[in-house]
């Protein structure tokens, strides 16, 4: 069963990923005003709450800010201009995420560096190592592999 499962699995996965890719990459409809407003509200900090966004909060300031977002979008401002409108009044603090690209890149950079270090550490050092793996693989029969798997399963 496993033998046929693999090609089917590969095909199914590729098909699914293609579908996702097509959906994501295809230029969909531009966001509606309500969607843009909700997106901006989720990125602004509610001024008189504790670390909640304007979208999640129901204080008077949050309600007024949401009203102003709607008004500005209605009069044709872009999302960036709306965000800047509030930064002009509250400072950078009003944005729930820093705009600097460094702030975004740094954590991923650290993970990438860690993965790189790991790969360097795990790299096989001699040609003998590499040769051994190949011949072991070639020699390993289906039966031997199954026995090893089962022995492993019983490993206490």
């Amino acid at each position: 069963m496993r033998r046929i499962a693999l090609p089917i699995a590969a095909a199914a996965l590729v098909a699914l990923l293609a579908l996702v890719l097509v959906n994501v990459v295809r230029p969909g409809q531009p966001p509606t005003r309500a969607q843009s407003a909700a997106a901006i509200a989720a990125e602004l900090r509610c001024p008189d709450c504790q670390s909640l966004s304007v979208a999640d909060s129901h204080t008077a300031s949050a309600i007024e800010i949401r009203r102003q977002i709607d008004e500005l979008l209605g009069s044709g401002s872009s999302s960036d201009a709306v965000r800047q409108h509030f930064v002009d009044r509250y400072g950078e603090w009003i944005l729930l995420a820093p705009r600097s690209p460094v702030a975004w890149a740094l954590p991923f950079g650290v993970v990438a560096a860690g993965v790189a270090l790991l790969l360097i550490w795990l790299r096989p050092r001699t040609a003998a190592d590499g040769g051994e793996t190949v011949s072991a693989e070639a020699a390993e029969s289906e039966q031997l592999r199954r026995v090893r798997d089962e022995a492993e399963a019983l490993d206490a």
Binding site: L16, W93, A97, L119, A136
Partner: protein, 672 residues
């Protein structure tokens, strides 16, 4: 009179733990048994004294003794007994008192349990734990005295913080969390002891892992309980806001999880010892940093206790503990450099190492995001915020990679694997995952987040199930057992592995629940006159009436209650309220949550008008939320199963000197 007793108890407790630390050092250096036993007794005494002080405080809270400043600020004559009791940990000084009780309790437990084992290590374990305890006692004696008096004695107290007295979970979340935090000092103490004595063999690893897992379980349950409590109480419909104090609890959890995995590699290969020890040190340091952030007023948070003089003391403790531990590590570094390294990229070791990289990446991301405003302010860049949008965008991909790895790891054997054998194991799980995603999409689930997480979860679950089935089948064939017995015996003979799988399964449940509940939630708000209805996601809610009256349990609190009738996949009546507490400037929302297996109906009262009897309510339908808490419970059960000692092995109570040299202890021997 009584508060003075409490204060004296703390002073003596400070002296006792300080003496214990000193006597343990003496005993450690000379081997003098009397020094060690008097040190142990001093440690037990400090635990008893902390208990006495806590008892005095609880009694004072229950009897509303307003001559004590802490009681006057956090209690009132109308406060119900349950909330009076839990006010022990509701504010700054009391929380440190409770912490000290638990910390000295762990120390007493560990020192008692191993009083005749690990003779070389225990004096130094005791010294470290006693030193840590003496620090907390010192904080209670000087800057954070919970028994300060107030004159003249007020007739009435301010009452507990409004948010902390309207839900019973306030009695669950802090104790679980603090048990986790304080317990993580124990593996740290073992690490310090191992570094001091130079005994860094595999036996040490087993002890440290057990004593990391036990507080880890409490920490996991505490964090889950915290999320659940905040969801039920705060009214914004969410359960995790990446608030600095929430992050503070997550950070040691992440490094402790990384440790649990890397220690398994260290155990098998004898490598990575320095890295593993560093993780233990980092975990403890992060618990101190977390405590510091909550109590110093340095970052703004929902949780912040009032700013106080305690901050600098904690900072000093962090600097001292980290310097001491790192110096020991650097000193012993030559002995810690590993003997073997995994030789293959495709092996379980590599998967565990990649797991560590990802978990530490997450730790870095969360720490970076929490401290960035501080960094920017310190370097003159003004004030910035780092909130949920940043954390979600950074952490979700890393979590996703970790989820994927959780599937790959168990499919790989220890040591070198051949790609063809590994590849075979993926076939069926991938087909199952793709089918599940397609089925969910057909049933109406949308969104890359929820569907992707579901697919990943089915993939990972499939691989784990495959492992279990193959192992059970092999066992039943070899031993002639029926499948059910085979499965049970397999799991109980391999508690670490299958307990681990159960933990991973709990993580999968949580991951899918989180993805679906955040991606597919719906909400609306409406202003209603009596009799009017609002509809959302198949529910119809009809507003019946508004009741404004004092609370039966605490008459100083006025509650404005909107009563609604709801219908849909669940039916019934609910009441959502806004409560006016005398010591709070704004009304506190008390949301109503109706939980079903498939979704939660969540209603918050935003505003009301007594003249027109109109109310403004916000309604959420949050799918699968209950499974987040269930997932947390599964993690707790799985990890308890994993570390539960196996019955059939006879406990080896022999001391080191008597240990038979020919026998190499198996990883899960009872000696730990």
């Amino acid at each position: 009179m009584l508060p003075t007793f409490g204060h004296i108890a703390l002073v003596i407790g400070f002296a006792a733990s300080l003496f214990a630390a000193w006597a343990f050092v003496i005993g450690g250096r000379s081997g003098d048994e009397r020094a060690l036993s008097s040190a142990r007794r001093a440690l037990y005494a400090s635990f008893a004294l902390a208990g006495l002080a806590c008892g005095v405080m609880v009694f004072s809270l229950l009897t509303h003794d307003f001559s004590i400043l802490y009681v006057a600020r956090n209690n009132a004559t109308t406060t119900p007994p349950f909330f009076s009791f839990i006010s022990l940990w509701a504010a700054l000084e009391g929380s440190v008192l409770f912490w000290t009780l638990l910390a000295s309790g762990w120390a007493a437990l560990v020192l008692h349990r191993y009083r005749s084992r690990h003779r070389l290590l225990m004096p130094w374990v005791g010294a470290t734990l006693a030193a840590i305890d003496s620090f907390f006692f010192a904080v209670l004696v000087w800057p954070g005295n919970p028994f300060l008096r107030v004159t003249p004695v007020p007739a009435e107290g301010a009452g507990p913080n409004a948010l902390l007295q309207n839900h019973p979970f306030m009695g669950l979340h802090p104790p679980l969390l603090y048990l986790g935090y304080t317990g993580l000092a124990v593996p740290f103490a073992f690490a310090v002891a191992a570094l001091v004595t130079g005994r860094l063999d595999e036996g040490w690893l087993a002890v440290v892992r057990r004593w990391t897992m036990i507080p880890w379980i409490f920490l996991t349950l505490g964090i889950t309980a915290g999320a659940w409590w905040s969801y039920e109480v705060l009214g914004w419909g969410g359960y995790w806001a990446w608030d600095p104090v929430e992050n503070a609890a997550l950070l040691p959890w992440l490094t402790a999880t990384a440790f649990v995995h890397s220690s398994m590699v260290a155990e098998r290969r004898g490598s990575l010892k320095a890295w593993t020890v560093s993780l233990v040190i980092a975990t403890f340091t992060l618990t101190l940093v977390g405590t510091f952030l909550t109590r110093s007023g340095v970052v703004a948070s929902v949780h912040s206790f009032t700013q106080s003089a305690i901050g600098p003391w904690f900072l000093g403790a962090i600097a001292l503990a980290l310097t001491a531990a790192l110096s020991l590590l650097v000193w012993r570094l030559p002995q810690l450099t590993g003997t073997g390294r995994p030789t293959s990229l495709l092996s379980r070791e590599s998967a565990f190492l990649l797991n560590n990289v990802l978990l530490c990446g997450l730790t870095f991301a969360v720490l970076f995001g929490t401290l960035l405003p501080l960094v920017v302010a310190a370097t003159g860049g003004g004030t910035i915020s780092v909130g949920a949008p940043w954390f979600n965008r950074v952490n979700v991909p890393i979590f996703g990679a970790l989820l994927f790895l959780m599937g790959i790891g168990p499919a790989l054997p220890w040591g070198r694997a051949s790609w063809s054998s590994v590849r075979e194991r993926f076939g069926v799980p991938v087909v199952a995952a793709v089918s599940a995603v397609v089925a969910a999409w057909a049933l109406g689930m949308r969104g890359v987040g929820p569907l992707g997480t579901l697919g990943l979860a089915v993939f990972v679950g499939g691989i784990m199930l495959d492992e279990l089935v193959r192992g059970a089948r092999a066992r039943s064939r070899y031993r002639g057992e029926d499948p059910a017995t085979a499965t049970w015996r397999l799991a109980t003979r391999n508690r670490r592995r299958y307990g681990g799988y159960l933990v991973h399964f709990g993580v999968l449940v949580m991951a899918v629940a989180v993805a679906v509940s955040s991606g597919l939630a719906s909400q609306t708000s409406a202003t209603l006159r009596p009799g009017e209805s609002v509809r959302l996601a198949g529910y119809v809610l009809t507003y019946d009436r508004l009741v404004v009256e004092p609370l039966a349990a605490d008459p100083r609190v006025t509650e404005a209650r909107a009563e609604l009738t709801y219908g849909g996949s669940q039916e019934g009546r609910l009441a959502t309220a806004l409560r006016d507490y005398p010591n709070s400037t704004t009304a506190v929302a008390t949301p109503s949550v109706r939980t079903a297996l498939g979704e939660d109906l969540y209603v918050t009262l935003l505003a009301y008008d007594t003249a027109t009897r109109t109310v403004t309510v916000r309604v959420f339908v949050n799918p699968l939320v209950v499974w987040i808490w269930v997932g947390g419970a599964i993690i707790g059960i799985g990890s308890t199963f994993a570390i539960w000692p196996e019955r059939r092995r006879v406990p080896v109570e022999a001391s080191e000197a008597e240990r038979l040299p020919a026998r190499e202890p198996a990883p899960s021997v009872e000696g730990a």
